[in-house]
């Protein structure tokens, strides 16, 4: 399948990329890993007049702790996330999700920045970043802004990025001691979209839950942050009953539709079960710390 014709641009500096974004406007799309954009273009769901290939921009593929945050460059591939020692040691929700994204070949090219900007409600990283209370940095010529992922994932396939902006960094708050996380994904086979997936994160403080994060995949028009369930957890001591209640609240916050992967009721039930299990796993990890 051939996409519509487009002009190809390959800047080598971010300044050059900003100039292109400014001059080309909304008819230009940024090409990162291309693992969502290229299929959309082949199906002619997207037909941008210009592609700005950012793969040769330097400095966007690093993972480093800065202060009390982990800064992940927009061009970090999913397999690099999965293989990163720091992420495996300290960021369990992300570490659990990364090797479950798509399939190994797609993970070799797909990027964190592209995945988040694509805003697919079936995207795994959106749920992880909602659970993690992450922010993204959007740079443009002469300025930049940090946007919470809750605002960035604005709507179905629609992030809050402006046409002249480039997502450069994903900023994840660093967990403290006594922290745990999980990503439970139900899929029919490797590479399929999630039927349902649930990201969980627990930070313990003095024996009680200090903060909690729950993000949901494939059960609504966007990835969903289950805030009522999160609020119900904070200040409480971990227990099976508490996690079951959080599961019910998260299921109530989901709005799945039935499809070939299962009915809406089935998916809502899986949300309840996976939130309960994910929190139990997170709590186990947090108390073992």
């Amino acid at each position: 399948m051939l996409p519509s014709a487009f002009d190809y641009h390959r800047p080598t500096t971010v300044e050059e990329a900003f100039d292109l974004l400014d001059s080309l406007g909304p008819d230009a799309k940024v090409l990162a890993g291309g693992q969502s954009l290229v299929p959309l273009m082949k199906l002619r769901f997207a037909a941008p007049g210009h592609l700005i290939d950012i793969n040769r921009l330097g400095g966007l593929d690093t993972i480093e702790e800065a202060g009390d945050e982990l800064h992940i460059g927009a061009l970090v591939r999913h397999n690099a996330l999965a293989a990163n020692d720091q992420i495996r040691a300290k960021y369990p929700t992300l570490a659990a999700a990364a090797p479950q994204i798509a399939d190994p070949l797609v993970r070799n090219l797909g990027t964190i920045g592209g995945s988040l900007t694509h805003c697919d409600p079936s995207g795994d990283l959106g749920a992880v970043m909602l659970a993690s209370d992450a922010r993204v940095t959007l740079r443009r010529k002469g300025g930049e802004r940090d946007v919470p992922v809750t605002e960035f994932l604005a709507d179905t396939f629609q992030s809050s990025i402006e046409p002249n902006e480039l997502l450069t960094t994903v900023k994840v708050p660093a967990p403290k001691r006594f922290h745990g996380g999980a990503y439970l994904k139900l899929e029919r086979k490797i590479g399929d979209y999630a039927t349902v997936a649930v990201a969980t994160r627990l930070q313990m403080a003095n024996g009680a839950i200090g903060s909690a994060g729950i993000g949901l995949t494939s059960v609504g028009l966007t990835n969903i942050k289950a805030t009522a369930a999160e609020d119900a957890l904070v200040g409480q001591e971990p227990s099976d009953e508490l996690f079951a209640e959080a599961g019910r609240l998260a299921a109530a916050a989901s709005s799945p539709v039935g499809d070939v992967r299962g009915s809406a009721d089935y998916k809502r039930h899986i949300v309840e079960v996976y939130v309960r299990r994910g929190l139990a796993r997170s709590a186990e990890m947090a108390t073992d710390d």
Binding site: A5, G34, P39, N55, P104, L105
Partner: protein, 168 residues
């Protein structure tokens, strides 16, 4: 747009349209038809090639993106000395039936054993997770990749492959 791509060790300068996918460039411009088109939707892995040694789906990369980079296709496995150990192992262990997925499977196998000299069943099954075979049931593909790893390992002697089913 003029691009230079090193394909199977030879630099090739060709004129491509930006919208031409790498798989089209390989098959139609360079006449390397060992790279197959299966689903054409990033699902099946029949179009797998190695990009700077890393397996990717060439139906989901534009040819212009690989300007200045190295691409290995199945044709690149064959050496003057004959079949690559991966090809020999697929032949020996009946790792194929219709052969449509085989180029992709062998290239994923090559990339795997480059970084894991002795992959377990699970390692192989994870690695080929993006490649679909509709004939073999995967058993002999797993065996073949492990056998190739055994003969490719430094100082390897007789391949350590049993006749037991791979997931027994």
């Amino acid at each position: 747009m003029e691009v230079t791509i090193t394909v199977n060790g030879t630099a090739q300068t060709i004129d491509v349209e930006p919208r031409q996918l790498l798989v089209h460039v390989l098959r139609e411009e360079l006449r390397l038809t060992g790279t197959h088109i299966g689903c054409d939707s990033t699902s099946c892995g029949a179009c797998t090639v190695l990009l700077d040694g890393t397996p990717v789906k060439s139906c989901t990369v534009f040819g212009v993106q690989v300007d200045g980079r190295d691409v290995t296709t199945v044709e690149g496995l064959l050496t003057a000395a004959g079949l690559d150990p991966m090809q020999a192992a697929f032949k020996e262990h009946h790792g194929l039936q219709c052969g449509f997925c085989t180029p992709g499977m062998m290239l994923v196998g090559k990339a795997l054993i480059e970084r894991n000299a002795s992959p377990s069943d699970d390692d192989v099954r994870q690695a080929i997770g993006g490649n679909i075979c509709r004939c073999t049931g995967y058993m002999n593909i797993v065996k073949a990749i492990q056998a190739a790893a055994a003969v490719s390992a430094p100082g390897a002697g007789v391949p350590a492959v049993s006749n037991e089913p791979a997931n027994a």
